[in-house]
């Protein structure tokens, strides 16, 4: 039952959350990588944009690897690395440092926001449903 409900909510929410058609833009975003954060740590783009990330490491060798997009590039200080891709998947994607750069390396994380986060909104709707289902499931 819960499964059906969830599927229904996602099927409804996803198309509703599509961005009203916007022209793909070419953007170049400069990101500084230092131990242990990215600056900026959050990047927002529209779906379909062609993004060039310029990764500038400021202290040791870092890099960037984007969840969900399976992209990765390493960057040495003094050699800005450039990664170009099309943001064709919408949602929120964490990007991480792929080169061990010290103790807090596994927590060196930023977030890429592409278009609308339909997963989040679908999940919120589904959560309300889940609470209702939970209450309803208690028989007399």
């Amino acid at each position: 039952m819960l499964g059906f409900a969830l599927a229904a909510v996602f099927a409804l929410a996803a198309p509703l959350a599509q961005a009203a058609g916007s022209q793909p833009v070419e953007r170049t975003i400069h990101v500084q990588a230092s131990s242990f954060e990215f600056t900026p740590a959050t990047i927002r783009v529209h779906r379909g944009d062609i993004i060039t990330l310029e990764i500038e490491s400021t202290d040791v060798v870092h890099g960037i690897a984007i969840d969900g997009y399976d992209l990765r590039i390493d960057a040495d200080p003094g050699q800005t690395a450039r990664l170009t891709f099309t943001a064709d998947r919408s949602g929120v994607f964490r990007f991480r440092c792929p080169v061990t750069c010290g103790a807090l390396h596994p927590f060196m994380i930023g977030k890429l926001y592409v278009g609308n986060n339909s997963l989040y909104w679908g999940a919120v709707l589904a959560a309300v449903l889940a609470a209702v289902v939970g209450l309803w499931s208690v028989r007399k």
Binding site: S57, D59, V60, V61, D76, P77, G78, T100, G102
Partner: protein
Amino acid sequence: MRSSRLALGLLFILALGLPLFAASWRWWDLRSGVVEVHARMPDAGGWSPASIRVPAGEALRLMLTSDDVMHSFAIGQSASPVIDLYPGKPVETTLQFDEPGKYTFYCTRWCGPDHWRMRGTIEVTGDANIQTGAAEQPLYLTLGLDIDAHHEASTLPQQRPSVVRGAALGLVLPDKYLALDYYRLHSPEQVWNDLRGELFSKELDDQQVWDLVALVWQFHASSGDAESSQQLYARDCAACHGEAGAGDGVFAHVLGAASETGDMHARQTPADFTGAAHMLGASPALLHGKIVRGGMGTGMPYWGPIYTDDQAWALVSRLYEFQFEVEDK
């Protein structure tokens, strides 16, 4: 009773066996004659050990490992490949030196502002087979050049001197300008003055003479490895001097401004290679000297033990490319 002995045995084999196995393997490693070299960021100790001795002709087995960030292992003035050191991923390598002497090993992946200080020495002992003689002096010493003296040019071009425009003038340069020694000893401004005084340049305006200077520079630009000098610059210089040579690399702010006392040997912001006055007043010998000798406390590394002569002169040519419009050959 037998079962309790069996139980005890099982316990020892599993519970103590695993750690004992690991500890004894490690002990065996350490006794096997491999030299374990740890790479750490310079402020955490740099290379450990930083000096190694080995007799000439004997194999030196090294186990290289990084303890914190990305490093690499390279030997100065040597063709042996650079070994990348991923943190926690040891690499074993065997070196052999036939000639006695002092060899410098260093790191080529930036690991902090003091990255260049991460150097060690391998002292290869033994009797010298060939008379090596005294190491060749760098040119600035032979010339008695004061490379710390100010070298600002007073005559400057209106726009960046261009090799293409210079070549388009269709002039044949006299042999004097084509001599390597002449090029090395004279700054672009001095060459411009010399060219200005020549008969064949009477018809030319000042900018066109600068274009001829660019042509002279292009002629002497170390042939062959334009690409590798680009790579050397990107690898070793850009982090401080900037990818566009403007003295604004990622570590520039760390190096800070010259001290108030005007002490030329205090830490300074890296030189701006795009500054015309600064660069056009510097002869190749002077720049070569700075690269080889270093900045004596300014934060500029000394590359003498690291670069071969060819590499140093190639880098000098590369630096002038921030001043001259150079076409690809």
